[in-house]
């Protein structure tokens, strides 16, 4: 019986009626057909039973429609003290009317840029959900940042979702940066309805030489959100790409983040913080592929898990034979606050080059009782002492957010969650 339901989900998640990018869609359909929905035995999804979840939650697998977003709604939901340009999306559909026009940057619908090589960076063969998105997204957005453009202010992707009966949202973003570009992107999602939603997102980022990009995400959409994202970038020579993802709530979130280092003297940074409670399930799968010499990658994911929450971390680092003088660092540290919380962590390093510096480590533990007693012995009550220690643990990730207003917004949310106040 379950096979039957599964079959139905597969068929209907792929919406054959969408137009444009025909060859890319065909390629994606084929890529999906050869992978299928990830089952319990799938190596990549073995800790994250997303297929089963979708079968339970997504009653109507059609694409959710766009809806009107007012200026007031935008103003009400943009995080405090944000200073920058806002691009607004309703169920993944770009809302030009209420979005800022970003000076010096070309923002258009993907359908208006039919030559865009979608799927060339985030390849549909690598992940079934990436394939589903490519086969059946309705329209996406194209962001072109010309050579020598340094955006002083960040671009905020403000995503609204409004779902009546468990439909699917499939946003798609293509970012193309020329040489010497500097830009910061921030993602914030607001779930307007308490219904279960499934957001399957793909972001492809094509960098130039000497570009420096920051990509920050806040995942705090409430306990009914099912979301899978595939974010992938090529890091060209002399460039930096830094990602920070802060996950605070959701039912089941899976973040696939891949950086392909294709130019020397470049840097790929990936940071993540997940504070989980209830039955929230967050899975971060990261992938750094060092293909050229003299590049660096830094990765730090930290989690605090309470109640019956579950965290998954899988960090792949490939250092190809040509990638001599690579420095690759990876850390995953977790604090479990309850017996019911679970973390599955798996560092995965594959190194073919011989002159490299690579390190990885993961720790999972409880709060340090000795540190707790030390703080209490100075007159600070136990709850606050705990908060202080947890905040200190989490703060190391927040430090990597370079945009001050977003950092203080996230800091506030984290402090509130941990009960730490100064």
């Amino acid at each position: 019986m379950s096979t039957l339901i599964k079959q139905k989900t597969i068929e209907t998640l792929i919406d054959l009626s969408q137009k444009g990018f025909e060859s890319a869609r065909t390629q994606a359909r084929e890529a999906f057909a050869s992978q299928g929905m990830p089952g319990v035995k799938s190596e990549e999804y073995k800790f994250t039973a997303i297929t089963k979840k979708l079968e339970q939650r997504i009653i109507d697998t059609s694409l959710a429609e766009s809806f009107e977003v007012s200026k007031e709604m935008v103003e009400a939901h943009v995080f405090e003290d944000f200073d920058g340009d806002v691009l607004v999306f309703a169920n993944g559909f770009f809302q030009q009317g209420v979005s800022s026009s970003v000076a010096g940057v070309a923002v258009s619908l993907l359908s208006e840029k039919p030559d865009t090589e979608i799927g060339s960076i985030a390849k549909p063969e690598k992940d079934p959900f990436c394939a589903i998105n490519q086969a059946s997204f309705a329209d996406g957005i194209f962001i072109g940042i010309p050579k020598n453009t340094q955006l002083e202010k960040p671009i905020l992707f403000l995503n609204f979702t409004k779902i009546t009966a468990g439909q699917v949202v499939q946003p798609r973003i293509w970012i193309e940066a020329g040489d010497f570009v500097e830009a910061t992107f921030i993602e914030q999602t607001i779930n307007l309805t308490p219904t279960s939603s499934f957001v399957n997102k793909v972001v492809e980022i094509k960098g130039g030489a000497n570009t420096h990009l920051h990509y920050y995400r806040l995942q705090n959409e409430g306990t009914n959100s099912l979301a899978i994202s595939n974010i992938e970038t090529d890091v060209q020579k002399d460039s930096t790409f830094s990602s920070v993802v802060i996950s605070l709530s959701g039912e089941m979130l899976r973040n696939n983040l891949s950086q392909n280092i294709v130019g020397s003297n470049s840097e790929a940074n990936m940071y993540g913080l997940y504070l989980l409670n209830g039955k929230t399930h967050v899975d971060n799968h990261t992938n750094v592929d060092h293909t050229v010499p003299h590049a660096e990658s830094n990765e730090l994911y930290k989690g605090i898990l309470a109640d019956h929450s579950r965290g998954v971390f899988n960090g792949k680092i490939f250092v190809r034979q040509d990638a001599q003088k690579t420095n690759a660092f990876q850390q995953n540290n977790n604090i479990l606050l309850s017996d019911g919380a679970v973390i599955n962590t798996k560092p995965q390093l594959e190194i073919w080059a011989d002159d490299v510096k690579c390190s990885h480590g993961c720790t999972t533990g409880q709060l340090d009782e000795e540190a707790l007693f030390y703080i209490q012995s100075r007159g600070i009550d136990k709850i606050q002492a705990k908060g202080l220690l947890l905040y200190a643990f989490a703060g190391e990730v927040l430090e990597h957010i370079k945009n001050e207003s977003f950092k203080s917004y996230c800091t506030q949310l984290v402090e509130d969650r941990l009960g730490a106040k100064f």
Partner: protein, 254 residues
């Protein structure tokens, strides 16, 4: 100020303290000495409220209140301060923020106004001089990467900031070179008033050359087996602990 009566404590079922009696009055300095494993640090920990130790018998009255009823933070607010033998390194917690939170929680409990940033900084600068601690150290994470001497100085600095009634120094002298020992002792001596008291737990007589005790107690096998004036410490330095052990052991047999 402090009255310990027949205090028994154990850890994981093993008795460590087996009937401690001790009276400490305001203005006094007491030294607690004894061989390794005699229960000196346990006594310090039990007074500060470390959870691993279970008090099985006896009472500790501090300024009229039953100290054992209180959580560690309440004991601190009541005026008990423990300078740790091994101060804990806490990455990510800035010394300054930590101390400000602590000082203000203690002040609130004592019915005093919270200190604003300026007043706090002024107070900090004044107390820093006591133990010659560098401000740079305090802008770092708490004790992280501090040398042994810096950690011990930081303990006395925290003590100065929190203004306790009873300071318990747990092996504060061990591991210090003579210059650091002088600085730490000097800090402790300057903090001494007729209204507060100090208990020094130490293994070595050396500390007592710099902080002169009014009373010296020898702890052995979980009990105070001998008390005396500072001359007792000199005698211990000269003769070691064996004569006391022998006397105590034979007493138990009798």
């Amino acid at each position: 100020m402090l009255s310990i009566k027949n205090l028994h404590a154990s850890i994981e079922g093993t008795p460590i303290l087996k009937g401690i009696n001790l009276e400490v009055k305001a203005g006094e300095v007491h030294a607690i000495m004894g061989p390794n494993g005699s229960g000196k640090s346990t006594l310090a920990s039990v007074l500060a409220g470390r959870e691993e130790y279970e008090v099985t018998e006896g009472e500790v009255i501090f300024n009229g209140k039953n100290l054992l009823d209180f959580a560690p933070e309440v004991r601190a607010r009541e005026g008990v301060f423990l300078a740790f033998q091994y101060p804990v390194e806490i990455p990510g917690v800035s010394s300054t923020n930590f101390l400000r939170t602590a000082v203000n929680q203690v002040r609130e409990y004592r019915g005093l106004d919270a200190l604003d940033a300026v007043k706090f900084l002024t107070m900090m600068k004044e107390k820093m001089k006591l133990v010659e601690i560098d401000q740079k150290l305090l802008s770092r994470s708490l004790n992280e990467g501090f040398s042994g001497g810096e950690k011990k100085r930081n303990e006395i600095f925290q003590m100065a900031m929190l203004d306790p009634k009873l300071a318990i120094l747990d092996e504060t002298d061990s591991g210090l070179d003579i210059d650091a020992l002088k600085i730490v002792s000097n800090g402790v001596n300057q903090l001494k008033t007729k209204d507060n008291a100090t208990i020094m737990v130490t293994h070595y007589q050396r500390l007592l050359d710099y902080i002169v005790p009014d009373f010296v107690h020898v702890l052995y096998n979980g009990r105070i087996v001998k008390s005396g004036s500072k001359e007792l410490a000199l005698e211990l330095e000269e003769k070691g602990y064996d004569w006391i052990k022998e006397a105590a052991d034979s007493e138990v047999i009798v």
